[in-house]
Symmetry: C2
Subunit: 266 residues, 2 copies
């Protein structure tokens, strides 16, 4: 795919940017936007052909902002891509001279063992993104930031130490979103639904999966945002190789649910 407009959750050099560059050929137009919501808006308004947004992290779990936007809009999941989250210490100075560290609080948290061992008495300044932290480091010679390798290249910083995460199995799945899903069954699919507000109604929905022998891999509830303490449910499941089973499950779910939205396969 070339010459497409690809909106991603920015700024430049975030992990989402890394995911976008891994999925799409470089001969596309990559557009960083400030919020996940803005990625959806760009695709809705045809300012972008595709969007790239974080979907789930292996440690932090579901990115709920993304899930909620599927409930609020009609956008679909076109595909999925995973990348390993590797945090690095970035600076213009040497390790010994670092006096303070700018970082998103999540990144400090992910590297807390390394930071405690290597910088027990340093000043931490929280920023709202790793890219913003990198920009501050450019202006402050005795400081460092935490972030992806891409951040070093983008903002002219040196990689002082590679892979400083405490957990080494940190991976994030990103969704490629668009106005339409691909009409081809891949490994997994995702649906969002709400059930009638009577006891046993959620159980009945889950029974449909059991009956059609479709294996759920994940279930979440999210506030419906229409009524207080009212929920929608999100299920990720593995598509059966027996096509009729998937079709039957979807048909039964659609019949049972108040609201039903098939998001796509990936």
């Amino acid at each position: 795919m070339e010459n497409k407009n690809i909106a991603y959750f920015g700024p430049k050099a975030t992990f989402t940017h890394e995911a976008a560059l891994k999925y799409f050929h470089k001969n596309n137009n990559f557009i960083p936007v400030d919020r996940i919501e803005d990625v959806f808006r760009k695709v809705i308004n045809d300012d972008a052909d595709f969007g790239v947004v974080p979907a789930e992290n292996s440690i932090a779990g579901t990115i709920v902002d993304t899930i909620d936007l599927f409930v609020q809009t009609k956008l679909k999941i076109y595909d999925q891509i995973s990348i390993e989250i590797i945090q690095n210490l970035l600076s213009k100075t040497t390790k010994e001279k670092i006096k303070k560290i700018y970082s998103h609080p999540h990144s400090i948290h992910q590297c807390s063992k390394y930071l405690l061992d290597n910088f027990p008495n340093i000043e931490y300044i929280e920023s709202t993104s790793n890219s913003k932290a990198a920009i501050l480091v450019c202006k402050d010679p005795d400081s460092a930031s935490i972030g992806p390798i891409l951040c070093a290249a983008e903002y002219g910083l040196n990689v002082i130490e590679k892979n400083i995460n405490d957990f080494k199995h940190n991976e994030t799945k990103f969704f490629i979103i668009s106005k339409n899903f691909v009409d081809q069954l891949k490994k997994k699919s995702m649906i969002i639904f709400s059930v009638p507000n009577v006891p046993g109604s959620l159980f009945h929905a889950l029974k449909i999966f059991k009956k059609t022998k479709i294996n759920m891999t994940r279930i979440e509830s999210r506030p419906s945002k229409l009524k207080k303490w009212d929920y929608v449910f999100i299920i990720e499941y593995e598509n059966s190789e027996i096509k009729s089973r998937n079709e039957k499950m979807l048909k039964l779910m659609q019949k049972h649910c108040d609201y039903f939205n098939y998001l796509g396969s990936y």
Copy 2:
């Protein structure tokens, strides 16, 4: 209850502080700590008798940091308290003179309609908490921040405009945590569990609820943090007035699950 040490997710004047002051008599010692994790740690180390942490917001959903800490520690839910989340515009100057707004990005998001209507061309500076934003406003005469009324009193700011949220039904539930739960069944209870990694295993767990006629009100999956893409499940349910039903459900779940933790009733 008096003369107890109460740790809460701070800094001072957060919504969690407000919840702590609503639940506990003022003759207690209130201790603000920086992270939800630190609230749990204070209680574990007996530096606090109780902790106060956010559990669920009616718009943003489950506070996953809190849920994850119940998986990692042995702390219990002692009780629950809800407060309405009311955002206000706080400043030392008058509305006309406000040139920039400091705020947590979530608060900007929650008040975006009001801000667009009233301050279409203003500069926004993101901070990592509303209390930190209020501290910055104290030093910057032409600025304002967004936050709870308590923030105005705590940092000597004036309330320029009350209740500026876009959604008027914004409520957060907080858990009062301690080393032990109260041995008394209240309206709801919460359990955390994992099931054997075989198809249909989660369904079997949910069937136990159906069989014992216990109504689930919420279900979530969270990364187990032990193995990549492996999950634990959290269920909130309504306690049956027929005591034996609750007991039977817990007994059957304990037998079926690999890992099972009853958190308490509230």
